[in-house]
Amino acid sequence: MTRRSAASIPHSAASADTAEIPADLLATLGPLGRAGWCLLVGLVAIVCWGAGAYIYQLRHGLAATGMNDYFSWGLYIINYIFLIGVGMAGTLISAMLRLTGASWRRSITRLAEAITLFALLLAGPMIMIDMGRPDRFLNLLIHGRLQSPILWDVFSLNTYLAGSLLYLYLPMIPDMALLRDCSAPFAPWRRRLYRVLALGWHGDARQHRRLEKAMAIMAIIILPVAVSLHTITAWIFGLTLRPGWHSTIIGPDYVIGALYSGIAAVITVMAIFRRSFHLEKYLTADHFRKLGLLLLTLCAVYFYFTLNEYVGPSFVTETAEIPLLAHIFHGPYTVVFWSMATVGFLLPGLLLALPWTRNIPGIVTASVLVNIGMWLMRFIIVVPTLSAPYLPFPPGTHYHYVPTLVEWSITAGAFAAFGVLYLVFAKLFPIVSIWETMETEPKEATVPVAANQPAEEVLV
């Protein structure tokens, strides 16, 4: 009650804001529409199919997968690395661009941060799905060994998850207040939700200062956490005695790879929302162009890292590396490897580099290709190494890894779950930050480092 009265004090200001909520942004919160419902139902069906596959796997054990004693990790781990790589998106857009004062980021920060949150929300379960004994999950707390990189990963992932949730939520508070106070005909539960999430925000200078401070602190904190997550995930492989994994470059390699696939994910999601939510005004060609250039840069950097991974071993041809390289370059993984090289580097590199294709369709195509290429890259990181053990496969055995329908179903279910979460989020909350875009529009040209400015001058 007191909160409501407190909120109503500066109501003049709030209602002025309300009037300013652009109708096109408000429209994104409207009913789902026929196509939207079809999509949602389709995605939920896939999620259910995946859940069914998981129940099957729980019943039959990991024998339901294509994994075996030699190929002891497979699709689930690949998905895990892919998902947390995608999860780098939010950090890059919202923290890095914020810290460098790139004010054009404002209309895409929430979209990116939401990718991070949902990717991380699904990455954790991927590990659970991969566990032989998910029922013993609590052993990680009861008997947890801090010396194990898995524990580091658990802590890092959860810290990043919590940080990302916070970092997604903080800039949403003023928007929640705007929605709480606006005149749009929201259902009562929804308005209540906005009221609770608004935390009594009424947009005075002190609140703005605090919010800005909190966001600035989060932007700085989240960066090392993100880097740690990717590095530690890389170390899960790098700290083993396996050719192809045991590499000093693997930590930075994962960080760059994550940035690369994160930006590609942001561009892809941007394209989807631009089209389906009619956000052309906010997700402009300029956004695509800038992110496209960023993607091109990372394409070059990641290509450089990847080159380093292969040139050394190929030139030196250490005994243990020979079968690995053979399997990749002219063995069972050749097709995957060269597909990855084409789809992950060559085509997107060309599309982004050539001025004729550096337009929205070209950039979006490139980013979709990068997403696929990066998933294949994770396959190439995980599987071929397992195919090249120090001791040869014993005579008469034929170990290979072919993912089963159960694994593919669970994978599809996870990606569909990402879609469901994202769709629900985008329908419930403004996918483009209302107050931040409103704040930017008049001042964009003149305030390059708006992040450091007290925001009240802008908003109130």
Binding site: L62, D69, G132, R133, L239, L386, L391
Partner: protein, 317 residues
């Protein structure tokens, strides 16, 4: 205290009811607890009928059935190994293995014996015989590979829950009741010594009857890793591991580094340290730094034909 096990009289019954008691793994059965109505051997009256002529049947550790006056039977507690005992290992011991590659003819009997003893399903092997050839011009040879029980074990280092652990007696074991099945240890072991229970285990009754212990690794637990355990349960009884005792060539020696003696199936006991020196023993992939507790004697002066590797080039390292 471990000697007690050999000398005590296991109190058991020839009847089904008592077999169930034994199956529950327990040696703490007493004369007072045993009687089941209708048993011919056991006395119906439980009340301290010592002076009377009542007798009861007991089984010795050698499997002999004896009939003794009920009053003479007394309750004996076997030294049941606590999980702390199992994690600590056998005090004062440092188990080692030495495999003479010159003697190994690749018959695979070690794998078979081990498989029988540990009820290993056919899809996996704890000790595995590899066909090796170091370079095209050098002779091929067979190399049995148990778990190396490394002194710098990469597998235990990465375990997030301490389910696999290194003991003071040098043995690396797995607690299948703690393992969460993340398989990091499998990725970490450069020798692929670890197997996984991918599906539900199908243990024979004999395995189930023994009761689980990390010292023998069965009955199996789904979704957990397993591997060669260096047979500490056999060592506690002063016996060789089954791979060693089952080797018809006497190629696998096992013993205690502290005693500086290793023994094979032929009863041949060698001075461990001196044999290593005299016969230029080596450990597999010393360069990886895992410091295995399994040593190999080089395949020199062999009395048998080596593996023919020319037809299967893909198997070579």
């Amino acid at each position: 205290m471990n000697l007690d096990r050999r000398h005590f009289l296991r109190l058991g019954m020839a009847t089904a009811g008592a077999a169930a008691v034994a199956a529950a793994g327990f040696e703490t059965a007493t004369a007072a607890q045993t009687p089941a109505p209708g048993n011919s051997g056991a006395a119906g009256g439980v009340s301290g009928g010592n002076a009377g002529g009542k007798t009861m049947k007991v089984m010795t550790t050698d499997g002999q059935l004896l009939e003794v006056p009920a009053g003479q039977a007394r309750q004996i507690k076997l030294p049941v190994l606590s999980s702390a005992d199992i994690r600590q290992g056998i005090p004062g011991r440092r188990f080692v293995m030495m495999i003479d590659l010159a003697k190994c003819d690749g018959c695979g009997q070690c794998t078979k014996s081990c498989g029988q003893m540990h009820f290993i399903p056919p899809d996996r092997q704890w000790i595995r015989v590899f066909q090796m050839q170091d370079s095209p011009a050098t002779a091929p040879y067979y190399m049995p590979r148990p778990c190396f029980h490394c002194d710098n074990p990469p597998c235990t280092k990465v375990c997030p829950v301490g389910a696999t652990f290194k003991r003071e007696d040098g043995i690396v074991l797995i607690d299948n009741e703690r393992c969460i099945g993340c398989r990091f240890c499998m990725a970490a072991c450069p020798f692929n010594a670890r197997c996984f229970n991918w599906g539900p285990p199908n243990d024979p009754p004999a395995a189930l009857a023994e009761g689980y212990s990390p010292e023998h690794g069965f009955p199996r637990r789904i979704g957990t890793a397993e591997k060669c355990d260096f047979c500490p349960d056999m060592a506690r009884q002063g016996k060789l591991p089954d791979c060693s005792s089952g080797c018809p060539m006497g190629a696998i020696y096992y013993g205690d580094q502290n005693e500086d003696a290793v023994t094979n199936s032929q009863g041949e006991t060698l001075r461990f340290s001196q044999t290593l020196r005299d016969r230029a023993a080596f450990r597999y992939r010393e360069d990886l730094g895992t410091q295995p507790r399994v040593y190999y004697l080089p395949p020199v002066n062999r009395q048998y034909p080596g593996p023919d590797l020319h037809s299967k080039k893909g198997d070579q390292a």
